[in-house]
């Protein structure tokens, strides 16, 4: 079914290409874009979207690439799936270079992205799958059973004859996943697969994604939902501004901030000057500001064992202050600290 | 904003907003190259049919092609707003409607005039037509009035575009009608009677006839009647279009049908 998996490093399998310990490898990947601005006097700007990203994913791992919008997640994934050629650096999937052996790699990867697009609206889900099955080289005899299997897996059985234009976001997403798995690829790349999906639908999608590694597949997932990465991923790389700022298991990342505490101060309009003063306090690790309707929430991460509430408030002299509380840090704080520091 | 400003500035900005993507890669092929080939196409059909002179087809098609900006652009200006879903926001403003829409029409008329003039000049050169120097000024006038009058039709089409779902089909059908029923290519006496009557009510019919007479040596005064009729027809379409939009706007406020793309 699908494509030969003779690459696998399993006992008894001999493959004359290198037996990769790592299914996906990114080695100092860089990607620069040239854009032009202005209509009359065109100036070209160079934007470095990815600046030296390196990571590797072992077989059967669910690896998360976590970062805010514009961090370079999508660009990174596009390089890995052979859509973009890196400006420098190397990327390997199953031991093969994604630029030199693009076709070989394409036969063995699945690509799923979030959002409304990427499907033929005027066709039924079944027709969409049939078309892509042909494009991905699924044997004619296997196409029908495979499509049925996948419809069952993603919970679209019974609705496959309806046109995609009538599908909800969640249904489209599920169809995307089905499409990405048609040729039973050993490696699956998911680019923000739950974006814009309602909570219930998203939960089901995550369950499906988790089941992929259960089935032995290797998965790279990009997301900006921190809790999603925490819940699903074996390992996470946090990416911001085109660079990886932290890598590790969710536990390891949390441990980075597990000691220490967080002081939250409600403020009504705070200036950068005051923030700088707070940042400058001894024992303060990071300061972030979140907007909440009419007010803002100042989130201050502090070293363990220190009581800094008083010191912080004194630096906010002249600023209207509301509630003050302190709590344990969460993975989200770690994430915010990493991402805002970059 | 005073009416005059709404007229001028609103018109220009909206035109650029909707056609800001109009790069030379679109403008030149669609509005400059295509009309020359349409002229050539019908010049050769004309030679094969051996009915009229080359000049007949150059003038007919040169002017007829102004319908691309005048009808398509005008329709898009309203229907395009609906597509971009900005129509609702615009109609909510207190700006008086007449200068608003008429202001949008001005760049369209200029565009139509320019396209027709280009077609006539370049088409004429390519095919080898000679027009007396005295004919230039009257031709400019006739062409301008024709562009104006067709834009009137464009305004009506824009109104219809609010009802019809596929506005591009509507615009193309109007283009086709203007191709067949204005004497642009088929001499009016070759049309069946009922079509000839339709032709009398279309923009371009009188303008094209006037242009042909002028090219053959008639003076502006000689064709004043035709030009007047052309302008009148355009005005009637413009008024009809304006009223239609007005009525539809009222209707949509009651029934919420405006944004249905």
């Amino acid at each position: 079914m699908g494509v030969d998996s003779g690459w696998a490093c399993r006992p008894g399998n001999v493959d004359h290409y290198s037996c990769p310990m790592n299914v996906v490898e990114a080695i100092d990947l860089r990607r620069t874009y040239r854009t032009t601005t202005g209509s009359f006097r065109r100036r070209s700007l160079e934007v470095e979207a990815v600046r030296g990203v390196s990571f590797s994913i072992a077989e059967g791992e669910l690896f998360g690439l976590l970062g805010p919008n514009g961090a370079g997640k999508t660009t990174t994934i596009k390089m890995l799936i052979t859509l973009l050629i890196p400006t420098s650096g190397e990327a390997r999937v199953l031991g093969r270079d994604v630029v030199q052996d693009a076709r070989w790699v394409r036969e063995r990867i699945g690509y799923v992205f979030g959002g409304e697009r990427g499907l033929y609206e005027r066709l039924s889900a079944f027709d969409n799958l049939r078309y892509f099955a042909e494009l991905y080289g699924v044997e004619p005899k296997r196409q029908r059973p495979r499509i049925d299997e996948l419809l069952e897996l993603v919970g679209l059985r019974g609705r496959e004859q309806e046109r995609v234009e009538g599908y909800s976001r969640g249904m489209r997403q599920r169809l995307h996943i089905a499409r990405g798995l048609l040729h039973d690829p050993p490696v699956v790349f998911l680019d923000e697969p739950t974006i814009g999906v309602d909570p219930v639908g998203a939960r089901e999608l995550r369950a499906t994604i988790a089941s992929l590694t259960d089935a032995g597949k290797t998965v790279l997932l990009t997301t900006h939902y921190m809790f999603e990465a925490d819940a699903l991923c074996d390992r996470i790389a946090v990416i911001a501004n085109g660079e990886i700022v932290a890598q590790g298991t969710p536990q390891e990342l949390k441990a980075g901030v597990a000691d220490g505490s967080v002081v939250e101060v409600e403020v009504f309009g705070v200036e950068e000057r005051s923030l700088e003063l707070v940042r400058g306090l001894a024992g303060v690790r990071a300061v972030a500001v979140e907007d909440r309707d009419q007010k803002q929430l100042l989130v201050v991460q502090t070293e363990p064992g220190l009581e800094l509430t008083h010191a912080i408030l004194s630096q906010l002299d002249g600023v209207s202050v509301g509630r003050v509380s302190s709590r344990e840090p969460t993975l989200e704080d770690a994430y915010v600290a990493l991402v805002t520091a970059a | 904003m005073t009416s005059a400003r709404i007229f001028l500035i609103g018109g220009l900005i909206s035109y650029r907003a909707l056609f800001g993507w109009l790069s030379p890669w679109v403008f030149i092929p669609s509005l400059l190259v295509a009309p020359i080939f349409q002229i050539l196409l019908f010049v050769y059909i004309g030679r094969s049919a051996a009915l009229e002179s080359d000049e007949f087809y150059v003038i007919g098609n040169g002017i007829q092609y102004a319908s691309i900006p005048c009808v398509f652009a005008m329709t898009n200006i309203i229907a395009g707003e609906r597509f971009q879903q900005t129509l609702g926001s615009i109609l909510v403003t207190p700006a008086p409607r007449l200068p608003l829409f008429v202001g949008r029409a001005l760049p369209v008329v200029l565009n139509g005039f320019f396209v027709a003039a280009f077609g006539l000049v370049v088409g004429g050169l390519v095919v080898g037509i000679h027009v007396p120097a005295t004919a230039i000024a009257p031709l400019v006038l006739v062409t301008a009035v024709s562009a104006l009058s067709c834009t009137g039709l464009g305004l009506l089409s824009a109104g219809l575009g609010l009802i019809v779902r596929e506005t591009a089909v509507l615009s193309n059908v109007l283009f086709g009608i203007l191709l067949v029923c204005t004497g642009a290519n088929v001499p009016l006496d070759a049309l069946p009677d009922w079509l000839r009557m339709v032709a009398q009510g279309m923009p371009f019919t009188h303008g094209i006839e006037a242009a042909r007479l002028v090219a053959d040596g008639a003076s502006a005064g000689d064709v004043a009647g035709l030009v007047g009729r052309e302008a009148l027809i355009g005005a009637i379409y413009a008024v009809a279009g304006y009223l239609l939009i007005h009525v539809l706007e009222r209707h949509s406020r009651r029934h919420g049908t405006l944004e249905r793309a």
Partner: protein
Amino acid sequence: MMRRTARLLWVGWLVHLKMLMRSAFNFWLGVVYPLFFASAAFLMFRSGDDPKPLLYASLGAAVMGIWGATSTSAGAALARERWLGTLELLVTAPAHFALILLPVTIAMATIGVYSMVATLIWGRLVFGIELHVADSLAFALAVPATVASIGALGFLLAVAFVRFRQAWALGNMLEYPVWLVSGFLVPLALFPDWVRPISWALAPTWGIGAIRGAALGGAPFGDIALALLLGGVYTAAGILLLERALRAARVKASLALS
């Protein structure tokens, strides 16, 4: 391998044809628009003295729609996929991209057959133009050959315009010139000599020649062969251009969804 290729082309063609047929816009525009031009031409020829040009034009007018349907959509074929968000999926599929794109443009040309039928019926009902097909077999071969070769020309256009976002405008621009120079409505003899090689290089010229020959009694098989040969040439040229264009797109990231 051959079977896989054939299947890919067949499935791709069916799928895209299905989608095109479900688009009211494409459908009506593709059928109605050429009818106006045909009508103008018929009215012009009818009032002339000679009946031959009218008959000559009626078959050509019928085929105008096949070219119209292709030229106006093919250039933007990739832009359409980009807009749908499917372009990335097509490019990252293991199948050769040419085999994915070619059926798309052939499907576009196939829609033109509706226009052909409509124009022939229109010509018969409104203008009384009788059409008797002298050689049915040749006619049955000439039409698909014309569709396929025009589809291949569309493929070349689609590839040539892959770098241009405004490709639809460039494709539109080619509608008239081919109608003119392929001799759809007027015999090639009317054109200056230097136009002749341009006409010969265009598959539609041979396609319409074959269809006319089959209907009016000529020797169409040579024309059919030439149309198909040219179709092959366009496809080969398109494939070569495609390799370069795709590589450039991957380097410059111009395949990004706009």
